[in-house]
């Protein structure tokens, strides 16, 4: 289901007048509603998938660095404190 926002609802309500006006206008309005819903839903989905791709690539790079450099160096880069100092 596409995300339903207030602007989208207001946009739908704008089509309700023509819907009650007659068959031809009603069909045209229904077609417009269909396009609005598709556009809103697809736009939201496209944004979500783009964000997921960025995140997944970053996480895969982190996982690969972990394998290449060794877990201790990658996960815990803090230098070991030498107890002899100080």
């Amino acid at each position: 289901m596409p995300q339903i926002s207030l602007p989208l609802i207001i946009e739908w309500l704008g089509y309700l007048g023509p819907l009650s006006a007659g068959t031809t206008a009603g069909v045209a309005a229904l077609e417009q509603i269909r396009e609005v819903l598709k556009a809103h839903g697809i736009a939201a989905d496209t944004g979500a998938i783009d964000a997921a791709l960025v995140d997944a690539r970053r996480r895969l790079a982190r996982e690969e660095a972990l394998g290449a450099a060794g877990i201790a160096e990658t996960i815990n880069p803090d230098p070991v404190v030498d107890g002899s100092e100080g």
């Binding site: 309700l16 509603i33 997944a56 996480r59 996982e63 394998g67």
Partner: protein, 149 residues
Amino acid sequence: MDHRERTILGALGFYLLGVVVVVAIAFAAAGCAAKQYHAATVAIVSADAFAGLVQDEADASICGKPTALPAPACLTQAQRGALSPYLKEALTLIIQGGETIKTMGPNATLWTVVAANADRIKTLLQQAFNLLPKAAQAHVTALAAAGGK
């Protein structure tokens, strides 16, 4: 309630019912391709979110880190390494799935293509999750139930 009030309420009820029907028809008419696009997106985005929770929890659970519990409730470096191949394959498939969605766009066969990947991703993430210490599993489950961090 007099006849006039009943008539007004009846007309209002009919109008509201009409609005619901119009919206329902519009959703149905939004098309199979758009629904498949949405279903595929939800699958890949959710999988990425869960993979992220498992990875963050695994990294935070490495024995000796300030965020880790004492042994045996932490992950040794060898255990963290054992979890890595599952996460790597899952993340690779998530990226492939995301690219497929972007390439195909709203398409009536999209879900069929993505579903095969989604099943494998689910299995891999389950295997990675099973390698976490119990306390870390509980933390991931709580975060996932709450919708992420």
